[in-house]
């Protein structure tokens, strides 16, 4: 089973790279040069691995872990992008004011407030779902636009830098910044991501809560009847936690990478993380690996643009092909269930065909 997963993943990646190479060749680029730059930008040196690939993977892994919780419960949170922004805004606001606190405390406060902001931002879809039955796919999606506008508002308003010229905030206090690995730009957020994955693995496999999530995700009625689970609140809880974690990712990005707020802080992390969570089959370890893979692709893409003149956005095509090939392989193997149900049966639940 495991070996097969690796095989599918590797095959999908190769297919994606092949599509990219063919496309670049047809478009008249030097495909060899471009792929070489892609590789060296992602894995070519210790600095590239740590400061480009891993730094880029942190938000994808953290958001992806949160989404894995929501997706396991069958709650489609498409609004991680907005929750990420909510967390980043709150983190920056507090980060500007905690200069007098001791370092670990300041950073902890900043990350906590980011977590809280993410939870508050997702509270609207949670409420709308529980109280009014509004599909979270739609409500979380709509709130992304509100978050984007809010971001634009705060960087030109309350949080704008002191001179009031640029649409960005001042840098947060030194004390609020996450420590870096010496000689690299890799910050402690990476450790948070790994620790989170380990904790989540334990929760998913060893606790009643983990079981309930899976049960609800596979079939709400069945979960209620056979497991006496309040599925409405199980789903709402999973949605809320996923939003809080996406907010945390926004805080980590500010405290570990950007140190300031600006309009396009996220190049679509919230959307790419959906793919990361699913490619990682909603398993914490899988999410970490998928996040690092996509982090590497996006880090390599910047190098590809610099050195071969290929637009960095071209790697989105690779990511899309990877997802589609994995989907095809999964579906063909299972003879047609949804990917979520397929994942459920892969994790060994009794009613995988739910």
């Amino acid at each position: 089973m495991r070996a097969r997963g690796w095989l599918v993943g590797t095959g999908a990646l190769l297919a994606g790279i092949a599509v990219l190479a063919t496309g670049l060749g047809l478009a008249g680029y030097d495909a060899g040069l471009a792929l070489g730059a892609l590789w060296s930008g992602a894995f070519g040196s210790w600095y590239a691995i740590t400061s480009a690939t891993l730094v880029r993977s942190v938000p994808l892994v953290v958001i992806g872990l949160g989404l894995a919780i929501a997706f396991r419960a069958g709650a489609f949170n498409i609004g991680a992008e907005g929750q990420f922004y909510a967390g980043a805004i709150a983190a920056t606001w507090l980060g500007l004011h905690v200069g007098s606190l001791p370092a670990p405390l300041a950073a902890a406060a900043v990350l906590s407030v980011a977590l809280l902001a993410g939870a508050l931002w997702v509270a609207v879809p949670v409420l709308l779902r529980v109280r009014y039955g509004v599909l979270e796919v739609i409500s979380t999606l709509l709130l992304n636009f509100v978050a984007e506008a809010t971001m634009s508002l705060v960087v030109q308003g309350p949080l704008q830098e002191r001179q009031g010229i640029y649409p960005q905030s001042d840098a947060i206090a030194e004390a609020a910044r996450l420590p870096l690995m010496p000689g690299t730009r890799l910050h402690a957020g990476f450790l948070i991501a790994l620790a989170g994955a380990a904790v989540l693995h334990h929760l998913f496999t060893r606790t009643v809560w983990g079981f309930q999530l899976r049960a609800v995700g596979l079939g709400q009625r069945a979960a209620e009847i056979s497991g006496r689970i309040d599925s409405r609140w199980a789903v709402a809880g999973a949605l809320a936690i996923s939003g809080a974690i996406a907010g945390l990712a926004g805080g980590i990005e500010v405290a570990g990478v950007s140190y300031a707020l600006f309009q396009n802080l996220s190049p679509g992390y919230g959307f790419t993380a959906i793919a990361v969570a699913l490619l990682g089959r909603l398993h914490p370890l899988g999410v970490v690996l998928a996040g690092i893979l996509f982090g590497a692709l996006e880090a390599g893409a910047s190098a590809m643009q610099r050195e071969a003149g290929v637009p960095a956005v071209a790697v989105y095509v690779v990511e899309a092909v990877v997802i589609l090939v994995v989907l095809l392989a999964e579906s063909l193997r299972r003879g047609g269930t949804t990917a979520l149900a397929a994942i459920g049966s892969a994790t060994g639940t009794a009613w995988g065909r739910g």
């Binding site: 496309g23 478009a27 008249g28 489609f76 498409i78 609207v124 709308l128 109280r131 009014y132 039955g133 509004v134 599909l135 796919v137 739609i138 409500s139 999606l141 709509l142 709130l143 992304n144 636009f145 509100v146 984007e148 506008a149 809010t150 634009s152 508002l153 030109q156 308003g157 679509g268 959307f271 790419t272 959906i274 793919a275 699913l278 290929v310 637009p311 956005v313 071209a314 790697v315 989105y316 095509v317 690779v318 990511e319 899309a320 092909v321 997802i323 589609l324 989907l327 095809l328 999964e330 579906s331 063909l332 047609g336 269930t337 949804t338 990917a339 979520l340």
Partner: protein
Amino acid sequence: MTETIPLVAGFLAAAVRVATPIMLAATGETITQRSGVLNLGIEGMMLAGALAATLGATAVGPWTGVALGIGAGMLLAAVFALVVIGARADQVIAGTAITLGAVGLTGTIYRQAYGAGGAGLDLPTLAPIPLPGLSSLPILGPALFSQPAPTYLGFLAVPIVWWLLFRTRAGLALRATGESAEVARASGVPTRRVRAAATLAGGGFAGLAGATLVLAQVGSFAERMTAGRGYVAIAIVVLGRWHPAGVAVAALAFGAAMALQFLFQTLELDLPYQLFLMLPYVLALLALAGMVGRVRAPADLAKP
């Protein structure tokens, strides 16, 4: 008070102009969703339509652009259909992937074709066609009857799609497939072919919507220019209760909410403009909450 009338007329014209691409995409998505397929890829299909329309319009002319736009939307829809209908893969994931791929593809092709800046792109666009007589009506004339061709197409599509969905055997088969594919299949409906056709139609509409955005609204292409309009169209389908007329009304209301920002700019109110950027989405959320219990999605939506 004499300047109120042109102000209102201008606002209405802007509302219809802004609503048109969303209305077209949402009409197509209504067909798709009625067959039981949730296509989150229409954002990407719109984007592909927008770029194809740009290429076609610069090479030949605006109508070639429209045709290529529709073709590009249908091409991506064919890939999507292959994955979600052919291989019965998860629709939400596949749709997300299609959109991601379209962002990459259009960005790459655009830069290859026009260089990194892409500025100074001079496009032949679709000019407004004033309908004789009607366009000189006060207030409503310029808003409704002096628009580019795609707006008329959008309005025309509403009764046509309604008739196809609710008054023909094919439409009945399509809706049956969306409500219960199993039952429909048992009564002899080729459900997979129906869903594939509905998905292709939705992709064509999305492509047309993208072409409209470039050729009748903005006048040029920019990377990620659809900026979530495809996703908005999906919300509009829910707001319009999966009915072509409801969808058209919801799209026009959303367009009006978006056009408010132009109105308030002219009024020079001392409020941050971002509040008006948020307004349409907040209103849509409120409308969704207000619809509780009065709306039901096709029962087999998003089930493979």
